[in-house]
Every structure is written in structure tokens, then in C-alpha cells.
């Protein structure tokens, strides 16, 4: 019984961090109707930034949260402005410009392999003040880095939801996601909003990078692991939905962790894909998605 509770807890904590990874993806899709294939690579950039920051300065891992996400915000902002906007402009009349997928895939290849050239293929870990620490609840062991990652993930999701509801920029983001043309007519500059959406989405990948680094390896293609999961999570939760991303993340984390108690972990991966396909066929809009999005 303890083993099951332990597995559920671990799955939920890891799942919240998957959800955090998916959060940026879902925000960008919601606003721009673009699946950002470079999202995992941006997470990797976040992880490497956090890695070097902690390694070189010896700062506490969570202080990196003050540096890495803003850095990645600008990275995403300019990536959209310089690379994605022109494609969008060229295909203005298309609702979902699919060539953008190719551009983001190109960015994925470039970033992953630049990292490979600069840092080599080896798996790196950084020992931080909290690595390997834990506390116990009865018989259950709770890892402190994972628990803080869980808390930070939830806070980020709540923060993003509040930002979308309360601020002008957030409302403009929502308006653009609902109806691009109408938002444009209301005086919202579509492409500036896209810059913000991409910047915020990338910054969230930066937050994810900071919370994952104390207990996970970083290597150039680490993004792929999270990318595929993030795709599944956003479709599961409904592309564009914030709570969908978090709940979808926890579901995937739970499946992984609980099923791996009973079978080889490669089979849990197959089960995740199977569940994904079943959900797509039964309810293509996902748990919290809107019908118009698919």
C-alpha cells in the first residue's frame, strides 16, 4: 500500500512538472494556433542556462528563477519576431499555417545540435544545496526538489491564469486566441501579442528548466523526452487550456509512475500513446478544449 501511495505521489509531482512544460506549449497554441516543435529545445536551453548559472556562480537553484525565465522571455520574443512572424505574414489568409511547424522544427534542430557542438553529448548533473534531500510523511518519502518543483508548477499555472484574467495584455492574448480578426479590429496588434505569447510560453519553459535541473540530467536532446509528453498532455487537456495542461500533466505522470510498478517502463510509454489515441478519437477537443479548435 505504501508503495502505491508513494508511486501516486511521485507521479503527481513529476506530472505537475510535465504540465508546466506543456503550459507554455498550450499558451502558444491557444493564441497563435501554432504547435511549437521547438518547445522541448527551449526547455533544454532553460536547463542549460540554469545548469551553468548554478555551476559557475554556485547560487541556490531557485535564485536562477529570477534570471533564466526573463532571459528566455526575450529569446522567445525575438524568435517569434524574426522567424515566425514572416511566415505568418506570408500565409495571412490561412487559419493554421502549417509551414510554421517546419520553421519551429528547424529551430529545434539548430538549438539541439548547437548545444551538442558546444557542450558535447554527455549527461550532466549539477549538485545543488537541495539535491538528494527529502522529508518523510509517515512511511512516505518526499523528495524536496520534486516537491518544490510541484509547488512552483502549480503557482506558475495559477499565476498565468490570473495574468490572463486580470491584466490588459492577458485579456488581449485571450481576445486574439478567440478571434484574430476581431481582436485586430479592436486595435490589438496581432503580431505584438504573438511576441508576448511566445515570450511568455518560452519563459515558462525556462521556469520548468530551473525546477527540473536539481534532480534531472541535462543533455542536448533532453527536450525530446519532454516534447513528446508535452504534445500528448496538451491534446489530452485540450490545446489552449491552462488547467487542461496541468491536469493532463498529472494524469500522464500518474500513469507513468503507477503503471511502472507493475510492468517494464517501456510499456508504460506505449500505454500513454494508446490513451492519447483513445482520447483523440472519443473527444478530439481534449478534456477542457473548445470544439472550434480541432
Amino acid at each position: 500500500m505504501t508503495a502505491v501511495i508513494q508511486a501516486v505521489l511521485n507521479g503527481a509531482m513529476m506530472g505537475a512538472m510535465y504540465g508546466l512544460t506543456a503550459l507554455g506549449l498550450t499558451l502558444i497554441f491557444g493564441v497563435m494556433k501554432v504547435v511549437n516543435f521547438a518547445h522541448g529545445s527551449l526547455l533544454m536551453v532553460g536547463m542549460f542556462s540554469a545548469y551553468w548559472l548554478i555551476k559557475l556562480t554556485g547560487m541556490h537553484p531557485y535564485l536562477a528563477l529570477l534570471v533564466v525565465p526573463p532571459l528566455l522571455y526575450f529569446f522567445g520574443y525575438f524568435m517569434q519576431d524574426l522567424l515566425i512572424k514572416p511566415v505568418f505574414r506570408a500565409e495571412r489568409q490561412v487559419r493554421e499555417p502549417l509551414t510554421v511547424i517546419i520553421v519551429t522544427t528547424g529551430v529545434w534542430y539548430v538549438l539541439d545540435n548547437l548545444a551538442l557542438m558546444l557542450f558535447g553529448a554527455e549527461y550532466r548533473t549539477v549538485r545543488t544545496a537541495i539535491t538528494g534531500t527529502s522529508f518523510t510523511l509517515g512511511d512516505i518519502i518526499v523528495s524536496i526538489p520534486k516537491f518544490s518543483g510541484f509547488v512552483i508548477s502549480i503557482l506558475t499555472a495559477v499565476g498565468l491564469a490570473l495574468f490572463m484574467k486580470k491584466t490588459r495584455t492577458g485579456k488581449a492574448l485571450q481576445a486574439t486566441s478567440l478571434d484574430r480578426e476581431a481582436a485586430n479590429l479592436m486595435g490589438i496588434d496581432q503580431y505584438r501579442i504573438y511576441n508576448h505569447a511566445f515570450g511568455i510560453g518560452t519563459a515558462i519553459a525556462g521556469i520548468a528548466g530551473c525546477v527540473i535541473i536539481p534532480f534531472y540530467y541535462v543533455y542536448p536532446s533532453v527536450g525530446v523526452v519532454f516534447d513528446i509528453r508535452a504534445f500528448i498532455i496538451v491534446v489530452l487537456g485540450g490545446l489552449g487550456s491552462i488547467q487542461g495542461a496541468m491536469i493532463g500533466g498529472v494524469i500522464v505522470g500518474l500513469i507513468e509512475s503507477v503503471f511502472s510498478q507493475f510492468m517494464p517502463s517501456t510499456w508504460t510509454e506505449a500505454i500513454i500513446y494508446a490513451i492519447f489515441l483513445v482520447i483523440l478519437f472519443v473527444k478530439p477537443s481534449g478534456l477542457f478544449g473548445h470544439k472550434q479548435d480541432w
Binding site: E96, I102, G106, V107, F281
Partner: protein
């Protein structure tokens, strides 16, 4: 000289060059590069039936390559059936799977469809990697299948030299190009194009868009599986990660998009542009700086999409038109157009 004559001369020239190349190119390495170029052009042309004409973005076609390779190889290894027969069986199985995937997914919009095909392909790969024996069928899990060398034999689809492979894939490519040309000018081609651009409007005109998309998908998966058998017989060894991974699926889509989706020459032009670049940068650069060749590849993808979002073919066709107009008589100028 009229425009038609010029087109014909160039076509004959292209045929002579492609059929004569093995007489000039003796190095097995270069011949292999050419074989793979045609192999990718073939795969992309087959993909184009769905990804180009039907206007969706399938990103998981490696599934069908895998079905083709596994079916013919299992039949050969375990039952001694010639790969030529296994190839057709694989094609039929792939067509059925294609319809199975297509039926529920063709209702979806672009991004959902792309993600769904990726998930399907990855799920398929994970399954195959986890299965050593499927009932009586030996799949060998992640280790893949090895075809024992039996020496030159047409029946066994094995040749000691590269030339037969070269001619097989060249003929396959010519046939599939002819088939797409034919389809693009048939009722099915028009219906597909209409359904790809304006599904609602096409439905309103009484076109059963879904049925034509499914037909295109079945045909595309069938043709793709044939190439899977070719690949298995060319390499004599394959394993799930290499054959069923996302790399192959993605590259097919990239070649189509770089060349120009929905055009007949697009896959060929895309393969001509990307494959040599891919091979040579890998051969010459990956030893010194691992990853550099993929940085270059990614950069080129981005640049082409930024400056030629419709792919290279429309621009090249325009260039050719202008050139042809200069060569042919002035009154013939402006005719011909898109190829």
C-alpha cells in the same frame, strides 16, 4: 522550336541521364547516395498524395515504411516467401492501417492531425520495440531483423551490386510520378484539391471529401510500404529506432515542403536539394563537429520556409518558363506554366 518540343527534349534528356548514371558513377558510395535520393523522392511523392493534394500534414509515414519492411522480411525469413510477394502483402496491410488511421483523424484540423499521426507512429514504434514474438511471428524487439545474404538472385530480391537497386528504385519513382501526374489531372485530384482547401464548400457541392481522402491515404500507404520492402532488401538489416523513428517521417515531410507540396515535381526537387546536402555534410562534417550538419540542415529549413514558403518548385517553374520563353518562339511564350 515550340514549348512542347522543348519540354519533350528536356524530359528525354533527364531520362537518359538518370538511366545512364550508373555507367558513369562507379563508386558504390555515390551510387548508394543516388539510390537513397530516389528512395526519398519516391517516399515523398507517395506522401504527397495525402500531404500535398489532400492538404493535411501527416508526420508519421515511417509506420508504413516499417509495415512494408517487416511484412516482407518476416514472410521471407519464416516462410520462405519471395520479398516481391511480401511487398504486395505489406502494401495491402499498410493500406488497411492507413484507412484505419485516416477514418477518425481526417475530421481533425491541421495541428491535431499532425500530432495524432506523430503519436500513432511513436506508439507503433514503442510497440514493435517491446514485442519479441507476436504469436508465431518473430519481430525481435529492439534488435530488429537481419536478412541473411543469399547471393545474386532476382527471386530473393538480393543483388551483389548496387546497379539493380538503382534501377528498381528509379523505375518505382518514375511509375509513382506518372501515377501522381495522372491523379492530379483526374476527378480524384480535383476533388482532393477542393477538399483540402475548402472542405465545407466541397461538401456542399456534394463531394464526399472524406471518401476521397481515405482513398488517397490507402494509396499513399500502399505505395509507401513498397518502399519499405525495398529499403529492407537494400540494407538487409533494420531495427525499430532507425526505421520507425520520427526522423524518417519528418524528413519525408521536409522534402515535400522544401520542394513544394502538392506539386508533382516538388518531391523530386526537394530530394535533390536536401539529400545530397544531408549526405555530404554528414560525411565531411560530423567527424570534426558532431551536430554541425544538423545545424546547417535546420538553418536551411528555416531559410527556405522564410523566403520560399511555398517551396522551391513554383519559383523554379517560373524561372523555367522565362528561360523557355527566350529559347522558343516569342508567340509560344507564356504558355505551359505550372508543371
Amino acid at each position: 522550336m515550340s514549348r512542347k518540343q522543348l519540354d519533350a527534349i528536356l524530359l528525354v534528356l533527364a531520362a537518359l541521364v538518370s538511366f545512364g548514371l550508373p555507367l558513369v558513377v562507379q563508386s558504390p558510395t555515390y551510387l548508394q547516395i543516388l539510390i537513397l535520393l530516389f528512395f526519398y523522392a519516391y517516399l515523398t511523392t507517395a506522401w504527397n498524395l495525402v500531404g500535398g493534394f489532400a492538404g493535411v500534414l501527416p508526420m508519421g509515414h515511417a509506420v508504413f515504411v516499417g509495415i512494408g519492411a517487416y511484412t516482407s522480411t518476416v514472410l521471407t525469413l519464416q516462410y520462405g516467401i519471395s520479398p516481391w510477394i511480401g511487398m504486395l502483402v505489406g502494401g495491402v496491410i499498410a493500406a488497411l492501417v492507413g484507412v484505419l488511421i485516416g477514418k477518425p483523424t481526417f475530421r481533425m484540423r491541421g495541428a491535431y492531425f499532425a500530432l495524432c499521426t506523430i503519436a500513432f507512429a511513436e506508439g507503433f514504434r514503442v510497440m514493435i520495440e517491446n514485442i519479441d514474438m507476436l504469436g508465431p511471428i518473430k519481430l525481435n524487439g529492439p534488435r530488429g531483423l537481419l536478412i541473411p545474404l543469399k547471393g545474386d538472385s532476382f527471386w530473393n530480391y538480393q543483388f551483389m551490386h548496387k546497379e539493380p537497386y538503382y534501377y528498381i528504385i528509379l523505375v518505382m519513382l518514375v511509375l509513382v510520378l506518372a501515377l501522381t501526374w495522372f491523379i492530379s489531372r483526374s476527378r480524384m485530384g480535383y476533388y482532393l484539391a477542393a477538399g483540402g482547401e475548402e472542405p465545407e464548400a466541397a461538401e456542399a457541392l456534394g463531394i464526399n471529401v472524406a471518401r476521397y481522402k481515405l482513398m488517397a491515404m490507402a494509396l499513399s500507404s500502399f505505395l509507401t510500404a513498397l518502399a519499405g520492402t525495398f529499403y529492407a532488401q537494400l540494407m538487409l538489416y533494420f531495427y525499430p529506432k532507425g526505421l520507425l523513428g520520427l526522423d524518417l517521417s519528418f524528413e519525408i515531410a521536409f522534402i515535400a515542403l522544401i520542394g513544394g507540396r502538392g506539386t508533382i515535381a516538388g518531391p523530386l526537387i526537394g530530394a535533390l536539394a536536401l539529400r545530397p546536402l544531408n549526405e555530404f555534410t554528414r560525411i565531411y562534417l560530423s567527424d570534426q563537429l558532431p551536430g554541425l550538419h544538423l545545424v546547417i540542415f535546420g538553418t536551411i529549413l528555416i531559410l527556405v520556409m522564410l523566403y520560399q514558403p511555398k517551396g522551391l518548385t513554383p519559383t523554379l517553374a517560373r524561372l523555367y518558363d522565362r528561360l523557355a520563353a527566350k529559347i522558343t518562339k516569342p508567340e509560344a511564350a507564356g504558355q505551359g506554366g505550372a508543371r
